[in-house]
């Protein structure tokens, strides 16, 4: 008899993501992913000036601010067929790179490492052994015995206080936790160090964007940064050097700490390459354009169907017809009206709420489909598309990671194994190391272009009186993001954001096909239904974010997530 587990945020306002799984003989036999908040934020934009839409969409989500802003200006620019000056492309790219680095570092260390790292085993670790192990992996200066002793003391102090604070409700001592005390200590010490490095990436974004978390420097047609290498009030040489210095500090952390840690943990939990593949159709957009017409990109995009890497199809730009014509959204199992799959330019957002119904409607997320199929988006999709299509940068970083994982695991882990729960973590770290390298390149492109005498940063948009439509695409930290706008007489007529978590957290469609979260949970082991650590590992591997929503503090609130076993 199957047992149903609901993992549901309790509070009404805070409720975002809910996952239900049925467990039979220690393994997941059925699953549902739902979003418990209405996402109708796009309706606010109707009738507004397309030039200010990015300010509003930047507030969809407080964590993904810049990504919505960039997708929005790209959407309007696409509708106007507006070219973007090279300086503006490079400045935007540097913002996206630093934002991505920040996101990936935080995601691994602060949002998901503790799914694999058992904090309460740390007091019994031998810091000297941890140091020896770490130094065998890399030359990182933060791997001394002293550093690990200090980190261990922090955990001992928390444990001795009798109040676990941040660690109160972890799944410590769970049978699926398998690292040695020394490796747990290694990962925890880097968890602390990561706080400093993620902040450096935030600082770089703030310098380029005039502010963070809400950048101020975007404009439809480019950026509003004035460039004058000698003026104090503009983007000058001092500021450019500050940005470079910050990136030069973050890159070694990614290369010598983040990527090796992920590879080591992946090698030690190599069985997690066998779970969580789920939907093996992948979709990624090209990004980091290097020319003003958006025809050349440093991150390739495209799609892969049924896990067949050899059949990869590359997109040649942001508005590839195969992409724009392939996307539809369905609402059979989502709390919206309408039966027909609609292209986002024709998209409707009319709520029709029922209760949570296993066979009926159960989510506020629509079901986006590409050529009628559910698609997985995120760093894994981007890395697989790049790898399969022979992108040299993707190949270099991926092969390096796979070699290290294979060494730790003691057997070969090939690129096909990345289609898994662990593979999503590895792909994110690979993407971070690619971004760190591309950061140097785009900084140099910007400086060289300015040195050549070009200080242009934007082109002025002019709106026709008729109707135009645009799509703004961005390969965000969580995957492909697209903003679809219809502009009529200089006003927004329709606006739909198809966000990465909509693809991944999608409910079933009319054909009953599961979305990626749901599909990836099937056949996951569950050792203890009251503590479904394994299900949480798989959900976290996607870097879920439903937070395009509300933020209210509930001082009397209890646990954020409640696990109910029915």
């Amino acid at each position: 008899m199957a047992k149903r587990i609901t993992i549901d945020p309790i509070s009404r306002i805070e409720g975002h993501l809910r996952v239900d799984v049925e467990v039979e003989n220690g393994s997941v036999s059925n699953s549902w992913a739902s979003c418990t908040m209405w996402r109708g934020i796009e309706t606010i934009l109707k009738g507004r000036d397309p030039r200010e839409a990015w300010l509003f969409v930047q507030r969809f989500c407080g964590v993904c601010t810049t990504v919505h802003a960039i997708a929005s200006v790209r959407s309007v620019e696409d509708a106007l067929k507006l070219e973007i000056p090279p300086n503006a492309q490079y400045i935007r790219n540097l913002i996206l790179i630093n934002h991505g680095l920040h996101d990936h570092i935080v995601h691994f260390y602060h949002l998901s490492a503790l799914d694999f790292v058992d904090i309460l085993k740390i007091p019994s670790a031998d810091p000297a052994k941890t140091s020896a192990l770490a130094e065998s992996l890399t030359n990182w200066p933060g791997n001394s015995k002293k550093e690990f002793l200090a980190a261990q003391d922090k955990v001992k102090a928390v444990a001795a206080s009798g109040q676990l604070g941040i660690f109160t409700n972890g799944y410590w001592g769970h049978p699926a936790m398998r690292l040695s005390p020394e490796v747990n200590l290694l990962a925890f010490a880097h968890y602390i160090q990561a706080l400093e490095y993620q902040r450096k990436s935030v600082q770089a974004v703030a310098i380029l964007g005039s502010k963070s978390p809400h950048i101020q420097n975007l404009t439809v047609g480019g950026v509003s940064n004035a460039i004058n290498l000698d003026s104090l009030a503009t983007l000058n040489m001092d500021r450019l050097v500050m940005i470079k210095k910050l990136m030069e500090e973050v890159k070694p952390f990614v290369d010598q700490v983040y990527l090796p840690d992920v590879c080591a943990i992946a090698g030690m939990y190599a069985d997690w390459f066998n779970y969580g593949a789920g939907v093996t159709n992948y979709l990624a957009s090209p990004d980091l354009p290097v020319d003003s017409k958006n025809t050349k990109f440093d991150l390739p995009g495209g799609f892969i169907l049924d896990g067949n890497l050899a059949g990869v199809h590359r997109f040649d730009g942001f508005r590839d017809k195969v992409f724009t014509e392939g996307v539809t959204e369905e609402t059979k199992h989502a709390w919206y009206k309408g039966e027909t799959p609609l292209n986002p330019w024709k998209g409707e957002t009319e709520p029709e709420y029922t209760d949570w119904q296993a066979e009926g409607k159960y989510s506020w997320v629509k079901a986006p489909r590409f050529q009628g199929r559910p698609m997985q988006v995120g760093p894994l999709a981007q890395v697989l598309v790049g790898y399969a299509s022979g992108d040299p940068l993707t190949r270099k970083h991926t092969d390096k990671a796979l070699d290290l994982i294979s060494t730790v695991a003691g057997h070969r882990i090939g690129v096909e194994k990345l289609q898994s729960t662990m593979g999503r973590h590895v792909a994110r770290a690979i993407r971070a190391s690619m971004l760190a390298e591309l950061g140097e390149k785009h900084w140099q492109l910007l400086v060289d272009n300015i040195a050549s005498g070009d200080t242009t940063t934007h082109n002025v948009p002019e709106f026709p009186s008729g109707e135009i439509e645009g799509v703004g695409v961005h390969e965000a930290p969580r995957g492909l993001l697209s903003h679809w706008s219809v502009i009529k007489g200089g006003k927004i007529e329709n606006y739909q954001a198809v966000v990465p978590s909509t693809w991944n957290a999608s409910p079933r469609d009319a054909k009953g096909q599961h979305g990626p979260y749901e599909a990836s949970l099937l056949h996951n082991p569950i050792a203890d239904p009251v503590r479904p650590l394994e299900a949480i590992r798989t959900v976290h591997s996607f870097d879920p974010c439903m937070a395009c929503a509300c933020h209210t503090f509930n001082p009397e609130g209890q646990a954020i997530a409640e696990v109910k076993v029915l």
Partner: protein, 179 residues
């Protein structure tokens, strides 16, 4: 001298959840501060709040709260009261993270000594709605409570002779791009 930061948090797109950003912007437009005091609208930073509390001695958060009091009630919580709420296993890593951010910053050794939450009980969180009247009327008291904490920790401020524009852009009526 102590570093003091007033942060408005909340979503400006969701009715009374905008009270934090609204109040922070109102304070910035109407007051000038001495060295070491900053005011910021942080939106909904989730766990990214940690990045903004590092190096700060006194953090004063302004946010909407759900505490069962009548809408428009202003309640001040101190650090002990905020951290009484224990974080738990979370599915969606970007939900509100005030408590967790404080814990993690403390663990790293860079957290603020004092944290206050000036909470305003909301009436509605409707998409695209402006602040409810009752919440808007609570703004002056919210400002007063925040400034009291600034003064308590030695921060200085004075009311501007001429207020700057407070840039509550999200409440402006829609206007198209063609005049």
């Amino acid at each position: 001298m102590k570093k003091i930061k007033i942060c408005g948090v909340g979503s400006v797109l969701l009715g009374d959840d905008a009270v934090g950003p609204y109040t922070a912007r109102w304070i910035a437009a109407n007051y000038e501060f001495g060295e070491g005091v900053e005011v910021e609208d942080l939106g909904t930073p989730g766990l990214d709040l940690i990045a903004y509390m590092t190096g700060i001695d006194v953090l004063i958060l302004i946010d909407s709260v759900e505490n069962g009091a009548p809408a428009g009630t202003v309640t001040v919580y101190d650090k002990a009261e905020i951290t009484r709420q224990r974080p738990a296993v979370r599915l969606d890593p970007h939900s509100p993270c005030i408590t967790e951010s404080i814990f993690i910053a403390e663990l790293a050794g860079g957290g603020p000594e004092e944290v206050y939450l000036i909470g305003v009980t909301g009436e509605q969180m409707e998409v695209g709605a402006p602040l409810s009247d009752v919440v808007r009327q609570a703004v002056p008291l919210t400002v007063e409570k925040a400034l009291e904490r600034v003064a308590l920790h030695g921060g200085s401020f004075r009311k501007r002779d001429v207020p700057a524009a407070s840039e509550i852009w999200w409440e402006a009526a829609p206007v198209g791009a063609i005049a």
